[in-house]
Amino acid sequence: MSQPIQVPTMAEMLARGETPEILFWVGCAGSFDDRSKKITKAIVRILNHVGMKFAVLGTEESCTGDPAKRAGNEFLFQMQAMTNITVLNGYEVKKIVTGCPHCFNTLKNEYPALGGNYEVIHHTQLVQQLIDSGKLKVQGGEFKGKKITFHDPCYLGRGNDVYEAPREVIAKLDVELNEMKRSKQNGFCCGAGGAQMFKEAEKGNKEVNVERTEEALSTNPDVIAVGCPFCMTMMTDGVKHFNKETQTKVMDVAELIATANEL
């Protein structure tokens, strides 16, 4: 933990005449939200540890437009998208890893029609690739034998059919991975998607995140693993709702890997 992280920007790399292997798209939550910044740093620690040549856009990054599009504001979405595409194409970006399934989905699926064609992967997929290629050795560390349940982010799972990457990464930690009743294709939303993160829920008799956290807690986990900064917020709030913060932590898959390996 003691080593300072190295976060080169695309501009710096270009100035040095270098080209990164991959662009790390941090996302708004990963940049500004205090809890999510820790996920961002965990991803960077993994990248630093394996010596991967990456860069971020830094202040040149802007919202992908995902929440605007889900809310119905196609204008704002396309304004954001085209501005970002100009920046990305200017740097001749080929490959992107995101720390957020919403950025992942938008960049991967919705930018091509507007002129942005990149190979986009989610950070759990990158970690899986690093493990599979032998570049990243993973040990269970403090999580060995612990009970973990994984909450599928909608835009990673159902939205893009990525179910195995996060699970395979977690399995490497030598933990007891318990599935919730509603998982993978049948996963249950945390309640934040579709721009709900930014508004009060409509009138109902329960909060979606409370329903989901209840289900997660029923597996009696030491850790609820997530792969999305918004799920992180919703599940963390849910765990607080049930006063279970001391028994159950909510952690991103990247944080599990970084923590277990003392990166």
Binding site: V7, C28, S31, N160
Partner: protein
């Protein structure tokens, strides 16, 4: 007078077929009220999807009990309809069991139909019990209050009656054969494994009464089928036909990908790039998003006519489960109701729609329903015939936001933030990389 039965039958068949074609034509017209959308790409994948999802019922298996029961009814329905071919020939030509020359094959077929008929009968009775006795949550939902709930029961009761008629027809026929009655030539007894069990119930009857039972059930069965066919266009049961084209035209892209509004692209390009020459505007300017069914695509309207109101979507919807007003099933039912109402309006006004002061958004679907959606795709995943309620919800949100500026206040703030500082929260873009230097 000897041909009166045959003539009556042929007239009934012709009238039934004509009426059915006419009503299907109306539904086709209603579907084509929607905007055009290009879905003719990737034919081989489309065929495969249709075969897997509609023919193979691949998405039913997630709920094993209804999957098995539905499979009985589905297979029974398709296979027993082979028997209808014989009934049609017999009816028109005045023959009796014209295909019995097939010998052992015929025996095998009739026996199979009988077993299937029993399975259909059992399936429908259990389905009726699930709706009316067990009262499963998705069937007692207020979505189904009124006609939709009766519709479901009518379908099941009709199928029970049709299958009962079929089995009693065979039982009477079998007894007449054994009695050596003229016109009823002997078929192997093994053709009647189920009706053979019913036969003792008819054993006290005179041959003339048996003939009456046989003829009555024969007519009941075939007239019932013709009537049922004509009931389809008014019923949720239309899914037995539309499941096939609807899955053929499935969305083949990742479910997370929302459609791109090209009309917006043109305007955004014109704003960002002064040298961009926009193409000439279309003759009829298109709305942003959907206010009424004409703003949806024909596929979205077809989705609504393919919906059999099973409620899997709603029972997996996080908004609905937590008590919000949104029900994806109800969204689909509202789209069909609106398309039907527009169709009726057109029929009453010589084929052109007279503005009735109503629209899908507002009169059939409320903003509160739309704003409850988390866009999680659970409804889309669940649908056994690949209906996409989410696309409709998003198109209606687009209308609310882009045409009416009617988004919830907090979402307006979020969008203002994105516009001004490139993030949904009020942070300065200059601080975006601060995390890298914080401990």
């Amino acid at each position: 007078m000897e041909y009166i039965d045959n003539i009556l039958f042929a007239v009934l068949l012709g009238a039934g077929g004509f009426l059915f074609a006419k009503n299907i034509g109306k539904i086709r017209r209603n579907i084509l009220l929607g905007r055009d959308v290009e879905l003719s790409d990737n034919k081989s994948l489309r065929w495969k999807t249709m075969i897997r999802v509609a023919l193979g019922q691949s998405k039913m298996v997630t709920r094993p009990v209804p999957a098995i029961l539905h499979f009985f009814v589905y297979v029974g329905f398709i296979i027993i309809n082979i028997e209808v071919i014989e009934i049609l020939i017999d009816g028109v030509a005045g023959t009796h069991r014209v295909l019995s020359f097939l010998g052992p094959l015929y025996t095998f077929l009739i026996a199979t139909f009988e077993v299937l008929a029993l399975l259909v009968l059992a399936g429908c009775l259990i389905f009726l019990a699930r709706r009316n006795v067990v009262k499963l949550k998705r069937f007692i939902s207020k979505d189904l209050d009124g006609w939709p709930r009766s519709d479901a029961n009518y379908i099941l009761i009709t199928e029970v009656l049709l299958m009962s008629a079929f089995l009693f027809m065979n039982a009477a026929d079998r007894n007449l054969q054994i009695a050596g009655h003229a016109h009823y030539h002997e078929i192997s007894a093994s053709a009647f494994p189920i009706s053979g069990l019913l036969a003792p119930m008819l054993s006290g009857l005179e041959p003339s009464s048996l003939v009456f039972v046989e003829r009555f059930t024969w007519w009941f069965h075939i007239v019932g089928i013709i009537a049922f066919l004509n009931y389809l266009p008014y019923s949720k049961h239309l899914h037995i036909l539309l499941a096939f084209p609807n899955t053929y035209y499935s969305n083949l892209k990742n479910k997370g990908q929302f459609t791109n509004l090209e009309s917006v692209t043109t305007e955004v390009k014109a704003m960002l790039d002064p040298s961009f020459t926009p193409p000439p505007p279309p003759e009829t300017p298109q709305r942003f998003g959907a206010k009424d069914v004409q703003d949806l695509t024909w596929k979205q309207i077809m989705d609504s006519y393919s919906c059999t109101e099973c409620g899997r979507c709603t029972s997996s919807c996080p908004a609905n489960i937590t008590g919000k007003l949104l029900s994806p099933r109800k969204i689909m039912m509202s789209v069909r109701d609106r398309a039907d109402d527009i169709g009726k309006n057109m029929d009453a006004n010589g084929g052109t729609f007279q503005d009735d002061g109503k629209s899908l958004l507002g009169d059939y679907i409320t903003p509160e329903e739309l704003w409850a959606c988390t866009s999680c795709n659970a409804c889309v995943q669940e649908c056994p015939v690949n209906i996409d309620p989410l696309g409709i919800i998003v198109d209606m949100r687009r209308y609310l936001v882009m045409e009416q500026s009617a988004s919830p206040t907090e979402l307006n703030m979020m969008m203002t933030n994105i516009e001004n500082n490139g993030a949904p929260w009020q942070f300065s873009p200059a601080d975006r990389l601060n995390w890298a230097n914080e401990e």
